[in-house]
């Protein structure tokens, strides 16, 4: 039952090594099993111990898109979290903490401080992580949930560690629940029950699963945050799904090996982040020149160079557009969220196979490491697979030319090993029969013919993928244009703006190449005020849109501090632009990590 009333956010803060993930996962999973929609964002640092980690989990009884703007419950695992975040808490919220160790400070009025005397509740257990379990018990009471739900989750989660561990955890969780029952006021709206249990995944899970559904059987990688989750999913499921997973010596090897496997005929892909993608670029050009289809995922993080490994950014758009020297055909796609990322993979593989070109996916840390729920019935693991003009069996005695200049530009691709189809593929320019033009003689007419043959393949590309459209009201005061991962947060901001009497609609762009120029020009010609929203400093998409269409936006909202936009950032920025205060808004990130 979706009332749209329940919108609850809990944040768990502490240092790396304090075991934030476990209570985080338990909360998310309990909520998802109740059918509540979850959106979680983990602000963390690139260290294994210490530092500050801040996990925000938002649960709603309605579709949840971003991690939202507000906190209802703050769970402090250390003093640092209390000191940093207490002043974010407003009247009606609760703060849970270990009162043995943590000094709460002075909260705003109406904030309920819920101190847990951990030692007393746990008979002085020396287990460092025990405070997390006690806090979970207290959380159950605060959220109006039966203790048995937590008990079941706890039993499942610790089952492998043996009966003693299970009982210890259940008993301290119960102590926490009991203490809360006697001492703390629960939230006025208890966590409701949704329609059906929901699945829970990260964007990296979705990208990997999308690849598996598309029929990927070869995956190579070199670990790099925030893309490593794809490798981990693939490695874990490799045996069950018959996927060969290889960790290589570097990203150069990754890309080249993937192309080698793809040339043998296997659907192949890899994922990395900007630095690794830089190393892959020469090979991506090779895929273009040899006409070998393969997919390269760049999970963007804040750059340049090593940059901010655990923070998000949309800073690699031009890197993808300009990956590799020369002029060649490619597809570049920036999915909106996890489910879209999942669906994009088979779609992209079908395109790259049909056109025999490389495909590039631009994800980012926000999508890839963000955790969200999804209706399991929407995850179609049996999509249509179209491998294009692939010759997999020896055919008659026709003389085979690998790069035959056909009308569509696509030349039937014979796999190595077949009788009667022997051919070379080469990175040097070559003629229809794979003879190297650069070796034999330089022939401008042959060169032109081959450039045009390859270019013909994508003449029709715009019609092969859905064109963008305006989402929301027709006649709006403002049209927000976003690409990739800003989709969800813009969607969350629009109803908030409407409440303030501002009518805003949304033009989300997913396909970067092909860019549906005509459609975009038409749609934006009707816009009263166009504002481009993106997670980078220089307005990479704004510049791309201008270079392709001549469109100059009326305003820009940009963020480049490493953290994603929250809905209120967009709301406030639109307001200040409508008030004529600025044309470029750079929202301030309040929750400092």
């Amino acid at each position: 039952m979706s009332t749209g009333k329940y919108d609850f956010s809990i944040a768990i803060g502490g240092a790396a090594g304090q075991g934030i993930a476990t209570p985080g996962n338990i909360v998310a999973q309990m909520m998802a099993r109740r059918g509540l929609h979850i959106n979680a964002y983990n602000a963390y640092q690139s260290i294994v111990r210490g530092g500050h980690i801040f996990l925000t989990i938002r649960a709603r009884d309605d579709f949840s898109r971003s991690h939202g703007d507000k906190l209802d419950l703050l769970l402090c695992l250390n003093q640092d979290t209390m000191d940093r975040h207490l002043d974010l808490m407003v009247s009606g919220t609760r703060v849970l903490f270990n009162s043995d160790d943590i000094n709460p400070g002075t909260p705003a009025s109406g904030v309920e401080l819920c101190g847990l005397p951990i030692s007393e509740l746990t008979d002085n257990s020396r287990n460092r992580l025990v405070q997390n379990t006690v806090a979970l018990g207290a959380f159950m009471h605060l959220s109006g949930l039966d203790f048995e739900i937590l008990e079941e989750s706890t039993r499942q989660r610790f089952a492998r560690q043996g009966e003693v561990v299970v009982e210890e955890n259940v008993s301290v969780a119960r102590a926490g629940y009991q203490y809360a029952l006697e001492n703390f006021t629960p939230f006025p709206i208890p966590a409701p029950l949704g329609e059906k249990p929901l699945a829970i995944w990260t964007g990296n899970d979705a990208l990997a699963m999308g690849g598996a559904a598309a029929g990927v059987k070869f995956y190579a990688a070199y670990p790099m945050s925030p893309s490593t989750g794809v490798l981990h999913w693939m490695a874990k499921n490799a045996r069950d799904l018959g996927i060969m997973v290889r960790q290589m010596e570097d990203e150069i090897a990754v890309a080249n090996t993937v192309i080698g496997a793809a040339h043998s005929g296997v659907r192949s892909m890899c994922a990395t982040s900007g630095g690794g993608f830089a190393l892959m670029t020469e090979a991506i050009g090779m895929a273009g020149m040899m006409e070998v289809p393969a997919v390269f995922i760049n999970v963007q993080r804040a750059g340049p160079s090593t940059g901010v490994p655990t923070k998000t950014e949309q800073g690699d758009l031009w890197q993808a557009l300009g990956a590799s020297q020369g002029d060649f055909e490619r597809v570049v796609v920036a999915p909106f969220n996890s489910l879209d990322a999942f669906n994009t993979m088979p779609e992209l593989f079908n395109l790259t196979d049909q056109l025999q070109i490389p495909g590039i996916v631009l994800s980012d840390l926000l999508i890839s490491e963000g955790t969200s729920t999804v209706d399991p019935d929407l995850v179609d693991v049996y999509p249509e697979i179209n491998r294009g003009e692939l010759i997999t069996e020896s055919t008659g005695s026709k003389e085979y030319m690998r790069y035959e200049s056909t009308e569509s530009g696509v030349s039937p691709r014979a796999l190595p090993g077949l009788e009667g189809h022997i051919h070379i593929v080469a990175t040097d320019e070559h003629d229809e029969n794979s003879l190297l033009i650069s070796d034999e003689f330089t022939d401008p007419h042959k060169r032109r013919k081959m450039v045009e043959k390859r270019a013909r393949k994508i003449i029709n590309l715009e019609n092969m993928v859905p064109s963008p459209s305006i989402e929301g009201e027709e006649d709006a005061d403002v049209t927000l244009v976003g690409w990739g991962s800003t989709y969800n947060v813009i969607k969350d901001a629009i109803p908030m703006l409407k409440e303030s009497g501002i009518k805003v609609n949304h033009l989300p762009i997913k396909w970067i190449v092909p860019l549906h120029k005509k459609t975009i020009e038409e749609l934006l010609s009707k816009s009263n005020k166009t504002i481009i929203v993106e997670n980078n400093y220089s307005g990479q998409f704004a510049r791309y849109l201008r270079s392709e269409t001549g469109i100059t936006a009326d305003g820009y909202i940009r963020k480049y501090d490493g953290e994603p936009f929250a809905p209120h950032h967009i709301v406030e920025a639109v307001k200040e632009q409508l008030a004529g205060k600025t044309k470029i808004s750079v929202p301030y990130q309040e929750i400092m990590v």
């Binding site: 018959g242 010596e249 593929v425």
Partner: protein, 302 residues
Amino acid sequence: MTITKELGGSAPIELTPKDFKGLADPDWCPGCGDFGVLNALQRSCAEMGIQPHSILTVSGIGCSSNFPGYFNSYGMHTLHGRALAVAGGAKLANHELTVIVTGGDGDGYGIGGNHFTHTARRNVDLTYLVMNNQIYGLTTGQISPTSSVGMKTKSTPFGSVETPLNPLTSAIMNGATFVARGYSGDPRHLSDIMKQAIQHKGFSLIDILSPCVTFNRDNDHSFFKQRVNKLEDANHDTSDWKAACELAMEWGDKIFTGVFFQREGASTLEQQEPVLRDGGPLIKQMNPLTKEQGSKIINALM
């Protein structure tokens, strides 16, 4: 064009080196050592009776890397230094192919050095033929990782000061399971080594002394002819890696050719790969997810 010979389904009964003549004629300089390598491989494949369509030749970039264009088989002429990485992927995806990697010293030991190390230790079943002319030929004569100290080239007009890399000891240390040296001036002996290398299950390197007659006058045929000695005459035990390394370091009056080291029975990467264990090559396992697989990955999210 030789591919006509296989059309219509009837494979030639007996192969001759001519069946491995590629579409293009080599444009190497007259006298280039690489001709001897091409002839030796054509002879080896013919004698072994390997059908051209079941071979994939993979190269990087360089004079020597033009090889696939001159050899009748499936071929990939890839990027400078990347041949082993590409070939590894191609082989893992279809291990029924005989994959032969051809290239130069710059290509394999310089820019591609990282792949050389790691492909060797992974023991992918590839045959790697390096035409080592101790120079960058295609770029008109600069030092390579195997150039001798003192060698004057366009990039070292006053003589190279760098210690050359030893491909054989490197390969042995990297875990290669078949390590040999050949000489393009003796294609018959080279061909013998090639046949053993192709037959060997695992990563095999043949470092081939293949003079660049245009840009390396220091290491030409007259230099090698008087120094080359066959290991077969030296009573060497190829399972002894230490002796192999010592012989491989020899670079004076005597330069040995032949098989230095072979470790038999070591599992190849393909043999260890779980997804290849019961099925045929990966390319023949391109099925969409089954109902069972599909529900398993969805249920894991619940």
